[in-house]
C-alpha cells in the first residue's frame, strides 16, 4: 500500500485513484474544521476543495518527517479560513481577546436538552477565532499539542494559553446561554 507521501506525489501527477484516496481520508476532517471556523457550510466546502488543490499544486510542501498529511491540510485550511475571514470581514481579526474571568460551574444538566446543539453552536460562535481553533484541534480533533501548535503556526506554550482561555470562556458562554434559556 502506498504511503501518503507517494499518494500525494501520484495525485499531483494526475492519478485520480491516488487523489481519491487522499480526498476520502481527509476531506471530512478538513470540512469540519472549516465549518467550525467559518460557520458557513458553503464557504467550508470551498475551503476544503482549495486545500486539496493547494496540495496538488505543491506536493513538495508535504514532508512526512515534519508533519502528517492531515496536519498539513489543516494548516492550509487555517490559512484559507483566515483569508476568507479577512475578506468577508466576518470577524474583526484574529485577536486573541477575551478577559480571563473565573469560569462558573457548568450546568451540564441544562445542556442535556434538545436545545443543546443550538446552545453549543452559539457558544462556539462567540469564541475568539484563535481560541476556537485551539479547542477544535486539541479537544475535538484530538491532535497532539505539538501538531495543534504546528497547525496554528505557534508554539505549544501559546497554544496551551489559548486552550486554557478558550475552555474558561466556553464554560462561561455555555453557562450564560443556558441560564438565559437561549
Amino acid at each position: 500500500m502506498a504511503s501518503e507521501f507517494e499518494l500525494a506525489e501520484l495525485a499531483a501527477r494526475g492519478d485520480v485513484g491516488a487523489f481519491q484516496a487522499i480526498w476520502n481520508a481527509h476531506r471530512a476532517a478538513i470540512y469540519r474544521f472549516a465549518c467550525w471556523m467559518l460557520r458557513d457550510p458553503a464557504a467550508a466546502e470551498d475551503v476544503t476543495q482549495e486545500c486539496f488543490l493547494v496540495l496538488l499544486q505543491r506536493p513538495g510542501r508535504f514532508d512526512p518527517a515534519r508533519a502528517s498529511l492531515r496536519t498539513l491540510l489543516l494548516a492550509i485550511a487555517r490559512n484559507q479560513c483566515s483569508i476568507r475571514r479577512r475578506k468577508a470581514q466576518l470577524e474583526t481579526g484574529l485577536a486573541d481577546e477575551g478577559a480571563d474571568l473565573p469560569a462558573p460551574e457548568l450546568a451540564t444538566a441544562q445542556l442535556a436538552s434538545a436545545e443543546c446543539a443550538a446552545i453549543l453552536n452559539a457558544a462556539i460562535a462567540n469564541l475568539p477565532p484563535l481560541q476556537r481553533e485551539a479547542l477544535f484541534l486539541f479537544e475535538y480533533e484530538g491532535l497532539s499539542l505539538e501538531d495543534a501548535a504546528a497547525v496554528a503556526g505557534t508554539d505549544t506554550g501559546t497554544l496551551k494559553s489559548r486552550l486554557y482561555r478558550g475552555r474558561q470562556r466556553l464554560k462561561r458562554e455555555l453557562s450564560w446561554l443556558a441560564k438565559e434559556g437561549f
Partner: protein
C-alpha cells in the same frame, strides 16, 4: 497538557452540517480541470526572471519617456521663440548671372 474531559465531551457533541451532495463531483471536476495533457507538460518551459530585470526595464522606459517628452517640449519652445521661422531642411544655392559692371568684363 491533559484534555479537559468535560469540555471535550461537550465539544464532541458538535456536529458539522452535512456537506452538499455535489461536493465530491465538484472536487473531481476541479481535479480533472487542473490536469494538463501529457504533451503539454512535456513541452512546458519555465523561465524565471529576477524582479530586478523588469524593474530596470520599467525604469529605462520611464527615463526614455521623460527624455523624449523633454525633447519635444524643447523643440516646440524653440519654434515659438523663432516666431514661426522654420529653417530650410536642404538649402539650395542659387547664383545670379547678371553682371552690370563693365570694368569686370573680360
Amino acid at each position: 497538557m491533559e484534555h479537559d474531559s468535560e469540555i471535550q465531551a461537550l465539544i464532541r457533541q458538535w456536529v458539522a452540517p452535512d456537506a452538499s451532495p455535489g461536493m465530491n463531483d465538484r472536487m473531481l471536476a476541479r481535479f480533472h480541470a487542473r490536469r494538463r495533457p501529457f504533451w503539454k507538460r512535456r513541452i512546458e518551459l519555465r523561465v524565471s526572471i529576477p524582479t530586478l530585470v523588469p524593474a530596470a526595464a520599467l525604469l529605462l522606459l520611464l527615463a526614455w519617456g521623460a527624455w523624449s517628452g523633454w525633447q519635444s517640449a524643447a523643440r516646440s519652445s524653440f519654434r515659438e521663440r523663432m516666431g514661426g521661422f522654420e529653417p530650410v531642411a536642404a538649402p539650395q544655392l542659387r547664383t545670379s548671372a547678371r553682371v552690370t559692371s563693365p570694368e569686370v568684363r573680360p
